[in-house]
């Protein structure tokens, strides 16, 4: 990829001044390159450290434990042997990263069309349910077609779920933030009904617990690092990496991507240019939902195999996807890195911090604190931009000043 895939050459200069969400993003992307997201993350980590310090623990030691707990110290002595603790931890971190990449892309794609998809969680859950149903119901199929069926069905279900919000926005102007939040709740309660007592997808072997059936062996994704059945790292990881490439290709190399971005920058201008805004709103939401639905499918077929009703409201990967996309600034590479950061944090805080040293409740909440701080700082982009620009002005002779504002490289 080029150094700057995020700034489309056709971005109209006026857009930067109109103050729309997409325009602000574009401005920010021009201003800070990679520095702003790194600053954002660093600030969040520093403030998270202050919280750890306030509880009477050494934040540096805590971060070291998180780093090791996430298996990132694997790079100092790499091995493919899963019996090594570092290798196991890394495989688990990558498993989380897989989900977060796709949930991040689900948010990022809608963002590029000027929409805020808060419904990643609902779309993820719908994908999870459909993958579970297809994976159980069609037991006995040959593995490859079965996996393709379950993954395809779940992806389409996620797309349809998000498509509802896109359709409502395009036809009656219902704001996607409201409709996706409501669709999340429908997905949550729908799942509780499906897997709950007497529900159609409840476990047939044990009717006394509200847990779904297990996905048949023929639909389980092959594990390439770890032990099949013991939550090893499955091939879904490569699917997520491929999704990053697909995301970048769609946005930057296709007519569809051009139209989506044009609508995102300025719907009026896009419409004036002959692009159907309504069509693109629906398409962008559906593609967003497809990423989230795919995440649900890979989780279900990759390592979960079953899901309980109590697990449904406790799941929050779809919301973490928002932080991932914001940190990754809605680009493919950024989302990939953001997903790794949050995947490592999520796994490292839960499994790296010893419960004898740091209270497990604090350890678990540290991830969410840092997530919240990232969202806060990204939301407060103006502040970071201000600091960034002030730094520029402090320099006696700035070459960048000779460039006209907003000119592309």
């Amino acid at each position: 990829m080029s150094a700057d895939p995020t700034v489309p050459p056709e971005a109209p200069e006026e857009a930067a001044e109109t103050g729309t969400l997409a325009a602000r993003l574009a401005l920010k992307q021009r201003a800070g390159g990679l520095v702003v997201p790194i600053l954002t993350a660093l600030l969040a980590f520093v403030l998270g450290g202050v919280v750890v310090l306030a509880t009477g623990h050494n934040p540096l030691l805590a971060y070291r434990d998180i780093f090791n707990g996430a298996g990132l110290n694997w790079i100092f002595h790499p091995t493919t042997n899963i019996a090594s603790t570092d290798a196991y931890n890394l495989s688990q971190t990558l498993l989380q990263t897989t989900t977060l990449i796709l949930c991040g892309l689900a948010v990022a794609f809608a963002f590029r069309c000027g929409m805020f998809n808060i419904g990643g969680q609902g779309q993820y859950l719908v994908g999870l349910y459909v993958a579970n149903w297809l994976g159980y119901e069609f037991a006995g199929m040959r593995p490859l077609p079965h996996i393709l069926l379950a993954v395809g069905g779940a992806t389409l279900a996620g797309a349809a779920w998000a498509g509802i919000a896109g359709f409502l926005k395009a036809t009656v102007g219902a704001h996607e933030v409201i409709s996706t939040i409501m669709l999340n709740w429908i997905a949550i309660w729908g799942g509780i009904w499906l897997f709950g007592d007497g529900g159609p997808l409840q476990n047939v072997a044990n009717k006394s617990v509200p847990i779904s059936n297990d996905v048949a062996a023929s639909a389980q994704l092959p594990v390439f690092w770890g032990v099949q059945g013991l939550q090893g790292l499955d091939v879904g990881f490569f699917v997520a990496l491929a999704a990053l490439v697909v995301f970048a290709l769609i946005l930057n190399r296709t007519t569809l991507g051009f139209e989506v971005r044009a609508v995102g920058f300025n719907p009026e201008a896009a419409a004036y240019g002959g692009i159907s805004v309504k069509k693109n709103l629906i398409r962008a939401m559906a593609i967003s939902g497809a990423f989230a639905g795919l995440a649900g499918a890979l989780d279900m077929l990759g390592y979960l195999y079953h899901f309980g009703t109590s697990d449904i409201p406790a799941s929050s990967v779809g919301f973490l996807g928002i932080a991932v996309a914001l940190l990754g600034r809605n680009t493919a590479i950024g989302t990939g890195i953001g997903a790794l950061v949050f995947g490592a944090l999520l796994y490292g805080t839960t499994h790296g911090l010893s419960s004898n040293v740091i209270d497990p409740s604090l350890a678990g909440n540290l991830t969410y604190m840092i997530q919240g701080l990232v969202v806060l700082f990204v939301g407060a982009d103006v502040l970071i931009l201000y600091i960034w620009n002030a730094r520029r002005k402090l320099r006696p002779k700035s070459k960048s000043k000779t460039h006209p504002v907003g000119a592309s490289a």
């Binding site: 390159g33 780093f67 309660w189 960048s400």
Partner: protein
Amino acid sequence: MKFSRGIMLACAVALAAVVVTATAFGGAKAPTTQKASFTAALVSDIGKFTDKGFNQNQLKGLNVAKSKLGVSTLALQSNSTSDYAPNFNSAIRKGAKLVVAAGFLLAPTEATYAKKFPNVDFAITDYTVHTSPFADKKGNVLPAYKNVEGLTYMANESGCLVGVLAAKMAVKNGGTAVGAVGGLKIPPVDIWIAGYKYCVHKIAPKLKVLVQYSNDFVATDKCQTVAQNEIAQGAKVLFQVAGGCGLGTLKAADDANIWGIGVDVDQYSNAKRVLTSGVKRVDTGVFDAIQQAKAGKFQGGSDLVFDLKNGGMGVGKINPSVPKAWVALMNSYKAKIISGKLKVPTGL
């Protein structure tokens, strides 16, 4: 290229970060091996160890085992579904001889690990081994799961005792109904309500027993809504059977100036108008399983049953406004249950 400077700076930052981490973390030593010979682990469900009830109470049992039996302990919290397997893995990796799973949500994962690690003992709270996935359809424990012990609780017995007081109080206050607010409609919840309902009707056959579920064990507002609904239908006493969520039920009872009944642990101090609490000693269960396993008397492939007789079930602090005669009546029920004269149903 105006971006090159930014990228260079970013690379410099990243490089510095890598160097710092390499020097700071590279020399980190592996954790020292445990000194005590026996290690017991407890894996929470997604209710977490901070749920003021089910999980937290089991953690208490683990900590008591640590101080009284001198065993090493590992408390592993699951913040999400994907934490179950790594928590079992890390317990076994760190040398746990006994892994206790805190509830039915962990049953499928525990089954996978129990099969894979036959030399490690496993126990599971609130779940019988005589059902799937540990047993065949007839309830015979499969050979692969002879290392799994179920820890089951006769909560219907305690449910009956609090039902006696609830019925008395409702009748005294001229009410026509009492209520129960469950978490999920699952056997560990329904067994409480079954005993409660049975004994409410023993005392006052005409009282209606309202039963509704919040579908949540954590969010207090959901239980509060369901509770308010039952209060609107005339309930004068509410029995909460939803863990941390049920604190919302107790609050609703406070607000409406009726009575609430706590569950699992003694919740007398969690609200102003708590009549009493149905106490289920899941801490005792964890402790007993560890004690057995440490002494080499672990009974894999069977259930360890806790009831009023062996003190695994009980009743919490009773509000002083309850007349002595009622307490005596309740104790007569307790004696009848223990002697086997009164059989309380276990299901609704």
